[in-house]
Amino acid sequence: MNLAEVERVNVRNEVEEGERVKQKIEEFQVVNKESFWKRTKNVRIAMLYLLPSILLFSVFLFYPMIKTVYLSFFLTDSKGNAAIFVGLENYQYLLESARFQKSMVSTGLFVLYTVPTSVIIALFLALLANEKLRGIGFFRTIFSSTMGMSVAASAVIWLFLFHPTVGTINHFLGLFGIPAVRWLLDPTWALISIAITTVWMNIGFSFLIILGGLQNIDTTLYESADIDGAGYFYQLRRITMPMLSPTLFFIITITFINSFQSFGQVDILTRGGPAESTNLIVYSIYQDAFINYQFGTASAQAIILFIIVFVLTLLQFKFGERKVHYQ
């Protein structure tokens, strides 16, 4: 018998076995006399327990998402009711509007400034704080502290630090003979100022997550590397980074999404100015919708925000997965 024939016989035997199983089960089956009500107990319990979540998600996430799409095709009155159907005109208007283009450029730059910086600094701090040294717990607490800082408090503190007359940063730079920077008043520096504030706020959470990732790495890996005589940086490159990649992947995605959603720091530090240089997308949505009552264009922007976040998450997942080392 050649292989194909063997294969065919095997398949036939399997089919026959399946037939036999079904016949036998039919022969001896005991019909459940319990009611349908009793048999579906699991589903009913599950649905009962899931109900609050599903209900809330539907009302406050799925429904509004669809409604946003709907509104983005309309011109609205000041109460947010859809008034005139305009199709894709809101989008067309946005894409042609210099204001929106500027907002997108600012947002892109802002993300570029914040994401790598936040992750690299947090990684650096986590590596420091992962050493087994006396009093390390104190440093860990300090490094994670900005996670407890609210946007409003952080922004107010940095508003003070950036202040042209009483601000500490310019004062400090002056000590080294560096001329004062017009932090929040210069269009280029304003975006950087907001980025600095955001990075500072991000560090606490990113640090905590990366430190957790570091501590999850099996210490015997380092012990065996020590025995082999590998140095600190060799171990960092060959053990720590590959083992940490899932954590880094996660935190990069989270930071990405958070950066796109920045609002509070803009509202307190610059209010989108000067010259709309810090008019990040969420602030722009806020202004259009709740200051100018342009719910249609605001919704169109919200949809664009959604698509960006959605695509970035998917892209990151696809692109990042190849580089990530999963245990």
Binding site: E17, G18, V21, K24, V30
Partner: protein, 378 residues
């Protein structure tokens, strides 16, 4: 009427293959019944169907004369001990023991009494206020047993309860569980893959393989009269020696390649229909040196000798197979040296090549054994 009955019990997960096929058995009240087999043979599935943790695909499960197929686990009047004990880590030993009673709203006084009795019975009285993680493996096992004891259920199911313990403790717990079961008079269904547990604890054993029942019987029946090749090799340590042999129908003998010719009686020959058979002989039936005239005697070269203090296990090749012999006492023999061994032809098992069913097995001298026992007990 038996306590627990299975009629054509079947379980199939994918509707294409059986996990348990057509199991029929009746388990008596107060019996210690063992389900044994290699991993994946369906023994745990069968136990879980009896417990109600797994749905029954076909067939009937009858407990106390009542069809129990669709009863929820708590209505089947049984207790269960799990492999990892399933203790609640956030509760103390006492709370763990009484957990089920509280759920069933048993009176406080009764709870207290039963807990005290069970703790005393299992030597846990000093540990009642501790958490499970502060206990040793053996103590955790006892807590799990205590939980089964206080439930006062007439049926107890155990799923490999000893496999997480070390060898010494396992031996001790074996005895304790058996004594406990006798004392309480409960019906026990006990799953294990360990044939020593099966042989030493059970009133009766069910041997399973690939979801099919191979044999049901008392430990000695299973050991002395295995119904097929699988049971013969599964029960017994070291396992029964097996070799293929040609059947010489003309001269009424079995020919083991280049080594042995085993003559068969007329009576025996009638049972042998195939041209090739498996012959089997238990290691302890192989003796050292020349046997009597009716015995097979032949030289072998030893490949391994394990001296265990009270017994010695020797390995040697016979044809294509490796055989083992078990001798009482200490035999520090040189390996690779030729040694003469012998076995009685009365002790041979013969299995059909195709069906693997037994066709010849030694006469079981039950009366001899009984005499020995009565002499000993005097």
């Amino acid at each position: 009427m038996s306590h627990i009955e299975l009629h054509h019990l079947c379980k199939s997960y994918d509707q294409n293959t059986f996990a348990v096929e057509d199991a029929t058995v009746a388990i008596e009240k107060g019996e210690f019944f063992i389900l044994v087999g290699p991993s994946g043979c369906g023994k745990s599935t069968m136990l879980r169907m009896i417990a109600g943790l797994e749905s029954i695909s076909a067939g009937e499960l009858v407990i106390d004369k009542q069809l129990a197929n669709h009863l929820p686990p708590s209505k089947r009047n049984l207790s269960m001990v799990f492999q990892n004990y399933a203790l609640y880590p956030h509760l103390t030993v006492e709370e763990n023991i009484l957990f089920g009673l509280k759920v069933r709203k048993v009176k406080k006084a009764v709870q207290k009494q039963r807990c005290e009795d069970a703790a005393k019975l299992l030597g846990l009285s000093d540990y009642l206020k501790r958490k499970p993680r502060e206990l040793s493996g053996g103590q955790r096992q006892r807590v799990a047993l205590a939980r089964a004891v206080v439930s006062d259920a007439p049926i107890c199911l155990m799923d490999e309860p000893l496999s997480n313990l070390d060898a010494k403790l396992r031996g001790q717990m074996r005895t304790e569980i058996r004594q406990l079961q006798r004392k309480l008079g409960i019906t026990m269904i006990y799953v294990t893959h360990d044939q020593v547990e099966a042989m030493t604890m059970g009133d009766r054993i069910m041997v399973l393989r690939d979801g099919k029942i191979q044999q049901i019987g008392t430990p000695l029946e299973i050991y002395n009269h295995p119904q097929n090749l699988f049971v013969a090799t599964f029960i017994g340590a070291p396992p029964m020696n097996i070799s293929k042999a040609m059947v010489d129908h003309e001269n009424k003998q079995l020919i083991l390649k280049d080594m042995l010719c085993i003559p068969l009686t007329e009576e025996q020959m009638k049972n042998v229909t195939s041209d090739v058979v498996y012959i089997g002989i238990r290691p302890e039936q192989i003796a050292h040196g020349k046997g009597s005239s009716r015995d097979m005697t032949f030289p072998v070269s030893l490949t391994n000798v394990e001296v265990l203090g009270n017994e010695t296990v020797l390995s040697f090749p016979v044809g294509e197979n490796n055989w083992k012999a078990k001798w009482l006492g200490q035999w520090p023999l040189d390996i690779h040296k030729k040694t003469e061994i012998s076995f009685s032809m009365d002790q041979i098992y013969v299995f059909d090549e195709n069906t693997e069913e037994v066709v010849i097995s030694p006469v079981w001298k039950e009366h001899v054994l009984k005499e020995v026992l009565t002499v000993e007990s005097r």
